[in-house]
Symmetry: C2
Subunit: 219 residues, 2 copies
Amino acid sequence: MDTPLPKAAPVRTASLGKREQTKAQNRELILDAARQVFAELGFGATTVRDIIRATPLASGTFYNYFKSKEEIYQAIQDDVALAIRPRLREERLNAKSVEEFISSTFRTFFEFVSEDRVNFQTMRHSADTSRFRVDTPETIAGFAELREDIEKAIAAGLFPPVDADYLMAAIVGVAFEIAERIAHRPDHDPAAAAAFATALFLGGIRTLPVAAPLTAGTA
Amino acid sequence: MDTPLPKAAPVRTASLGKREQTKAQNRELILDAARQVFAELGFGATTVRDIIRATPLASGTFYNYFKSKEEIYQAIQDDVALAIRPRLREERLNAKSVEEFISSTFRTFFEFVSEDRVNFQTMRHSADTSRFRVDTPETIAGFAELREDIEKAIAAGLFPPVDADYLMAAIVGVAFEIAERIAHRPDHDPAAAAAFATALFLGGIRTLPVAAPLTAGTA
DNA sequence: AGCGGTCCGTGACACGTCGTCAACTTTCCG
DNA sequence: CGGAAAGTTGACGACGTGTCACGGACCGCT
């Protein structure tokens, strides 16, 4: 569609040859279809056939790109984890105090997930009867990174010498569980959630911010 | 096997008739098989056929007792939740202080899961690549109960007026995530884990117990 | 341009699981 | 004892799975 280029050099620059091009295109085609179908049906109800049907491709082609439903789901999740992991790490490494370390972690995480429609839609659909969380290699690496950063912070005297493994687990547990609650609430408010989690980790229950009185619950 | 009872009354007392008897027996047969197969294969890899094959029954019979793999899994999980829920509730209602409320919750929960082989085996197997948690109706009711108890504790002046929903989520998140870590560690120590979680909720990171120096991590 | 080699999309295939159902067996009760 | 009700059985059609021989399009070389 650009300049027709009389017939000159079959440049190996921008387009890497038709082969590579359709390969990348097909991969994106399948991934997009998968994201959509997962969001619509949930992970459990989705079949490889559903995904490939949402695509102009044949069923066999799927297996040239992914081994199974599990693998493509992992690929999708990994993309998400890959997007947030460096941001989290950077903020933690720049942290000058426990406060900064904790609050930036929660703030960034909650902001991210409250913007990430697709992924949380998928989780929700399974929520009818059961909910599940998939920890991909990338996610697990992110957890390990958090633990390392905690250990570094301890070595630097920023944190008291606590059990880094348990502390990591506690942060992860609270982050995911509260993220779920954010998604369930009418007003998604990542900032308030981050304030809550941060106060909890810094000073415990007694220093938590007082709840808005509207949280009546029943009726 | 007891006294042969010449031919007297076909008593409707201890044994409720052969019909009811085999019905209950078959149900237990299927449930036992399911527990075993789930623990061996994990939830995802298990099929209804696998379960029924571990049984002397025919495939159609399964569906007289459970609608699907999901439903029987829920039934199993519900049994577990049913066993621990009243204990947790009782301890919380007897709590005279924030300390008691929090510490008894974590202690009871961690002790329970560290004894519950079957259930955590199942979770583990999926852990190769992905992990998941199923929240059954009974489990969800347990969460709601925790939130109600928090609200009661706030009303009674035991807790400051915090966001009960978020606090519940935080407790649940930490409880499950740390339970997972306990299972992964060589020395299952529910008491230490409970002490950690309790200190976190009562006073925040700075009041956490100091870790045993052996937690080297690498090597 | 033309030509072999390679890559990869294609859809049919063999196999297994799913949930159902008509036929059969066992229990119940008058 | 005999008929009705309850429950078990295994075969069945529909569907999903992963594979593979085929064939057409692309690549690089002459």
